[in-house]
């Protein structure tokens, strides 16, 4: 009898833990990773990636989670085709050989005010480096435009400053900036 009770308690604890961890799919139409980089000391150039997929696991009670983002490197867009083609080439992203940029984070730590920190690995142009994202804002709620009121969405804005030379991208250094701000503005829908 004692064994049976122990088993039931284990089952209940396990189910509760499972229920606490929610699984989300990134909404590609509201998720556009983007970057800024200094251009020859004159100005700051902006660019973004148009195609992103991924998953988010979130324990909202425990304020933890995991993140897995895949970015199509060929979808880079700065508003000018010639520059985008150059960015896709061997001097920068080398998307012909490394078509996917990934960010995988097993440790997401959130605060009650919606800020937090994400520790993960960014793989860019075939090079993987540890990159910590700072979560600037996060919000989870039922989608206001969904008539069934069943669509639950979590969104966050996170960013980090990386050095492109750490990823072997050295074209135009030091004239074109080495440091670039990488921002993830993500919306993800609960499965």
């Amino acid at each position: 009898m004692r064994n049976l009770m122990f088993f039931v308690i284990l089952l209940l604890v396990g189910t509760a833990a499972q229920a606490a961890k929610e699984s989300y799919t990134i909404d590609p139409y509201h998720t556009y990773p983007n970057f800024t980089i200094n251009h020859l000391g004159f100005s700051t150039m902006h660019g973004r990636f148009d195609k992103t997929t991924g998953r988010l696991a979130l324990d909202r009670a425990g304020m933890t989670g995991a993140l897995d983002i895949s970015i199509d490197a060929t979808s880079v867009s700065t508003g000018m085709k010639k520059r985008d083609d150059h960015l896709r080439g061997p001097d920068f992203l080398n998307s012909g050989e490394f078509p996917t940029i990934t960010y995988k984070a097993g440790r997401v730590k959130l605060n009650k005010d919606g800020t937090g920190q994400v520790n993960g690995q960014l793989t860019l142009a075939g090079v993987m480096r540890d990159v910590t994202l700072t979560v600037n804002a996060m919000h989870c709620a039922t989608h206001p435009f969904d008539p069934s009121k069943k669509k639950f969405v979590c969104g966050f804005d996170a960013s980090a400053v990386i050095k492109r030379s750490d990823f072997g991208i050295k074209y135009g250094l030091p004239a074109i900036g080495d440091e670039m701000q990488l921002s993830f503005e993500v919306e993800a829908v609960r499965d």
């Binding site: 508003g79 000018m80 085709k81 010639k82 520059r83 083609d85 150059h86 896709r88 080439g89 061997p90 001097d91 080398n94 012909g96 050989e97 490394f98 078509p99 142009a125 075939g126 090079v127 072997g168 074209y171």
Partner: protein
């Protein structure tokens, strides 16, 4: 690090040219049979400055540089064993096919059907044409060197226009090193033998141009013009003076380069015009 060594002009022109020139002169005096070794010896220090020594990530550019080293060793073995004729050409052809497949591999893995056949077929025909055509012919050494030098220089220009400064700079260094050896051979009174190192030069220059097409945005049509360069050296031009023969061939080869540059420039300008602005830089 000395800062002037970071200058692209030093890396892709001055350094390989001067190193190859000096080494070709030294080798001509002591090891004339190995005079052509001055080309890779002049090229690789510049290549290391441009691409670094690390092999990770294993990009097509690094594969090409590694293949160049393997080709130099193979060429040395072929020459040492006096391997000529059909067996030699068969081995060269197999090496070219393997090298081309290796460089194109990341693209081939993601392509199928007609697109795969098209990339693979045209890539292999292009590489076999370039390398075997020069290797198989009994040409004067200066003619072969001129061919390799002009071809590499042409690749340097079109690769840069076609969207990759790195591939362009590497080809430029190859042209400069070949040019350095060409000068020494041209002014030397002794017959010279740089034949064995034509294979690595043409292999690397060919693969760099192929990479500029498949991994950057150089149009295939540009390569068609560059394919005419080896044909020029086969034209039956009979002049008593070697310099006159070289000059005529140089002019004809430059016409092929001009065609390739025009196509690359036109393609690149059209990309810019999509945005009604060509002031990208």
């Amino acid at each position: 690090m000395i800062t002037w060594l970071d200058n692209p002009l030093v890396q892709s022109a001055l350094l390989p040219f001067i190193m190859a020139l000096v080494l070709a002169r030294v080798l001509a005096a002591f090891l004339p049979r190995w005079q052509g070794l001055a080309i890779p010896l002049g090229f690789y220090p510049a290549a290391v400055l441009m691409a670094g020594l690390q092999l990770v990530p294993f990009t097509s550019t690094r594969k090409i540089l590694l293949l160049g080293v393997i080709a130099v060793i193979l060429s040395g073995i072929f020459s040492w064993r006096n391997m000529l004729g059909l067996s030699h050409r068969f081995l060269l052809a197999v090496s070219i096919v393997v090298a081309t497949l290796w460089v194109l591999w990341p693209l081939l893995m993601r392509t199928d059907g007609l697109a795969l056949l098209s990339v693979l077929g045209s890539g292999l025909i292009y590489m076999l044409w370039l390398t075997l055509l020069i290797d198989a012919q009994r040409l004067d050494m200066p003619v072969k060197l001129l061919n390799a030098c002009v071809f590499s220089a042409g690749v340097a220009v079109v690769a840069t226009i076609g969207g990759s400064a790195l591939l362009g700079q590497l080809s430029g260094a190859l042209a400069a090193a070949t040019g350095g050896v060409l000068l020494v051979v041209f002014f030397s009174r002794k017959p010279s033998d740089a034949q064995m190192f034509m294979f690595p030069v043409m292999l690397m220059a060919g693969l760099l141009s192929l990479a500029a097409v498949v991994y950057a945005s150089l149009p295939w049509r540009s390569l068609l013009c560059l394919m005419a360069i080896p044909l020029v050296s086969l034209l039956p031009l009979s002049f008593n003076k070697l310099w006159l023969k070289l000059l005529i061939q140089l002019l004809l080869m430059l016409m092929a380069v001009a065609g390739a540059v025009y196509i690359a420039w036109d393609f690149s300008s059209n990309l810019a015009l999509d945005n009604a602005d060509n002031g990208y830089y």
